[in-house]
């Protein structure tokens, strides 16, 4: 019961700040609401017994991605205080599509018999973080996807530098 109340509070805060992210006009405020929303997601991971992902969410999403976004907002300042509309003329169509998708997802869930699966016990005596670390570097599990992901990150890093490079003419 206590867990449910905690979950509901976290969900309401997360969804409320997500709505603020997509509706508020000032971009810096939107980035700050995004940080609150990401904190809610981190708490959700903690509720799901995934402490490693709670830390990763805080470090990568809140610590790196949100700060990067605030930098980008400040570097593109003219559009930050745009006086015109902040949404497209067809925003009602977007809202309609999102609601239709949400209703469709709910309908799909309701037809699935695993929808109300109750919480199974975690396997006893297993350190999840240790297991994950071993799985990511063991040759007969996920070492290849792991290395591909690191090459992708390196390529993204170099690509970002090349794209944003200011050529002095």
């Amino acid at each position: 019961m206590v867990m449910q109340i905690i979950f509901l509070i976290v969900a309401v805060v997360t969804l409320g700040s997500a709505v603020m992210v997509v509706t508020v006009r000032n971009l810096v405020h939107a980035a700050l609401w995004l940080i609150l929303s990401l904190f809610g997601v981190a708490v959700t991971f903690a509720l799901l017994n995934a402490p490693f992902f709670t830390v990763v969410e805080v470090v990568i999403y809140i610590g790196a991605i949100s700060i990067l976004m605030i930098f980008a907002i400040m570097l593109t300042r003219r559009t930050m205080q745009e006086t015109g509309r902040s949404v497209n003329p067809g925003w009602w169509l977007a809202a309609f599509l999102s609601l239709v998708l949400f209703a469709g997802l709910l309908w799909m869930f309701s037809t699935w018999d695993g929808f109300s699966t109750t919480l199974p016990d975690l396997p006893a005596g297993v350190d999840q973080v240790r297991e994950l670390g071993i799985a990511l570097v063991s040759p007969n599990m996920y070492v290849l996807p792991f290395e591909v992901a690191s090459v992708l990150l390196l390529a993204a890093l170099i690509g970002a530098i090349v794209v944003a490079w200011e050529r002095k003419s």
Partner: protein, 102 residues
Amino acid sequence: MIPLSYYLVFAAALFCIGLYGVLARKNAVTILMGIELMLNAVLINVIAFWRYRSPDQITGQAFAVMVFAIAAAEVAVGLALFISIYRRRNTIAADEIDLLKW
């Protein structure tokens, strides 16, 4: 205890809010924020399915690590593109970046 349905409905709502942000907002950085919300909804789903359906296997967590890596790469390249576009055209409003439109 919390059944799986709570997490699924929560993640679906977060995904749809993010989708609205992607489709409706004008500023390119806010579009990227919407994509972040959608990716977070996907992550909640992945970890919830791991926790409720196969907690004895590590596959779900390894999958979530990949999603994190993709999200970080996507944001880095996306923001670099917006800064480059801003330098050349002095705007990052999505409806003014219409070079490919004819």
